[in-house]
Symmetry: C2
């Protein structure tokens, strides 16, 4: 990989030995502010309240959360594990990281605290390496000067650094393969307008914000060569669970015959979930729909639904890019091959 | 039609003889406040700045705008007509109303001011009657207890009263045919959350707000029996131009095999525009995308596109409900039959 900024200046989490500093992404792009998490419960709370988000990142943070629990003794681990796993139900990386740390704890014979700190660092570094590999593999899917659409934020802010789908896009831009990025704002949390635009502008990638409901019109206008999204959980049959709106975007891509790529590390794959519709879809508070950044946008007493994720059937996915190779077409057998 | 509230308590425009009072819909649902328009130019400005919106309503307001110009003399009419027509480019009702008033002015032999006032009232009353007829025809499309999705606001606030697609929904609810309405918030102007929810809640219709990007997931969950939208212009071949996001919603409906109905008066049909892609799509300021109700949601200097409308090809439209009958399947010949 040529010289390329692999980590952004503003890191979403910073390990300080006795605490995990978590960038409060709810305040971006207006303010860069960190929350000090000194316990696993602090990490779980920051995760549940969405100070940090992004499936790979909440996995990395959970690993550090377990390291923080280990500093207080082995007896802390079960409760810490339960709190972290319960923080958000959909992203499987959370359970993946916690289970990995529990297994490491069982095998630790020296200092438990030191061992779990080392394991958390390794988990974080492995995610970073996975992102680099996915960026390389994903960029190979594109020809010159492609205009792409991306959704939500699957960038450096959603991972240990670089990002999944946004890592592919940024690296492909570095190679001259991406000319322009259209970022969907991604209601209700506006990860697209607040975070993805911020990352792309900081990284010098030409980008334009659109509302989610403009994606179909942009595709119709022509010139969109690919769509890249991340994933929160991939079922054993290769159905993809990701941010609410991804499923609709995939249907639009199919209608316009535009390739629809999912970029996610293998830690996102959940062999225990047979099909996408078995994935628990988190429903969050209606208050997050009827208000935008504190401003009421609906009549008092309005009812709202707030599904945080949806499931895209594998039939709508052109390929899944993982750090262990590209799964194309997306299917159960190819998925097993990558995992084995 | 059984006893049914045909006009809401809060009227979007009120004629006062020497001025048109225009409800400032940008402030809803927080505040009910009217703007006094004493000239056609005032009406044009209120239209361009979206104090009022909705294709049939801006047609009615433009008719009154011409009546205001006539009070100042016949020489005022050409300039007034130009200002009103230029206020917004996409909705054909604007040109339809202004041309209708110019024709009336040419034939007026008594008091021009009195004649154009009468014509404007008639235009308004004709729209109200059209809405009542469409409500009756459209409701006949539904069986019992249907759950529907609607988009943007095509209600009493978008017309002379009752509404087009929302008129159908409200009347069908009155008949027990609509059980629940899911209203898409409709970024960037949030007509769905601010206006449609307000009308439905005031009218006692069970309703739930969703973000635009949740529509596909709602359709997948099952139980959605129909989708109803309005229109800003219908081309001669029956392609439908409507609020940005309508096209994507129609694709999602097709994928899920859910009927997609357009409700619009014949004043929305433009025989002079052969196909949908010939309709001028208004692009508005990027500032309306990067801010929500005055709050910045994107990094400073972020680029954004703001298409206000899109075009849904007739192939995605199950039927068009007009006051002169239902066009099904949507096509050029059936459209001509309704117009003749």
């Amino acid at each position: 990989m040529p010289a390329f900024p692999l980590k952004d200046k503003v890191a979403p989490i910073v390990w300080r030995g006795d605490r995990l500093r978590v960038l409060d992404q709810r305040l971006l792009p207006r303010r860069v502010s960190y929350i000090d998490c000194r316990t696993a419960q602090d990490v779980a709370r920051a995760t549940a309240e969405m100070a940090l988000r992004g499936a790979p990142l909440i996995g990395c943070a959970a690993a550090y959360g377990m390291a923080l629990a280990a500093r207080r003794g082995r007896r802390e681990l079960p409760e810490a594990a339960a709190a972290l796993k319960a923080a958000r139900p959909t992203a499987v990386n959370l359970a993946h990281a916690v289970d990995h740390m529990l297994a490491a704890a069982r095998q630790a014979d020296g200092s438990l605290a030191r061992e779990l700190e080392r394991q958390a660092r390794d988990y974080y570094q492995a995610d970073l390496r996975a992102n680099q590999t996915m960026a390389r593999l994903g960029a190979a899917l594109l020809r010159k000067k492609t205009r792409v659409i991306t959704y939500c934020n699957a960038g450096a802010l959603a991972t240990s650094g670089l990002g999944t789908s946004l890592g592919v896009i940024r690296y492909a831009h570095h190679l001259g393969k991406v000319e322009h990025v259209y970022a969907c704002e991604t209601r209700p949390y506006l990860q697209g307008s607040r975070l993805t635009l911020w990352e792309l502008m900081n990284g010098g990638v030409p980008c334009t914000l659109i509302t989610d409901n403009m994606a179909a019109h942009m595709m119709k206008l022509g010139g969109i060569g690919a769509i890249f999204v991340g994933a929160d959980r991939i079922a054993a049959n290769a159905d993809v669970c990701n941010k609410i709106g991804t499923y609709g975007l995939a249907i639009l891509a199919k209608y316009h015959r535009i390739p629809f790529y999912v970029v996610a590390p293998t830690s996102t794959i959940d062999p225990a979930t047979p099909v996408g519709d078995a994935i628990p879809i988190e429903e969050r508070s209606a208050a997050e729909i009827v208000r935008i950044q504190g401003r009421e946008i609906a009549p008092k007493g309005a009812a709202a639904r707030h599904f945080a994720f949806d499931v895209t059937p594998r039939s709508l996915v052109t390929a899944i890019v993982t750090e262990r190779g590209i799964i194309r077409p997306a299917g159960a057998r190819a998925l097993r091959r990558v995992l084995s």
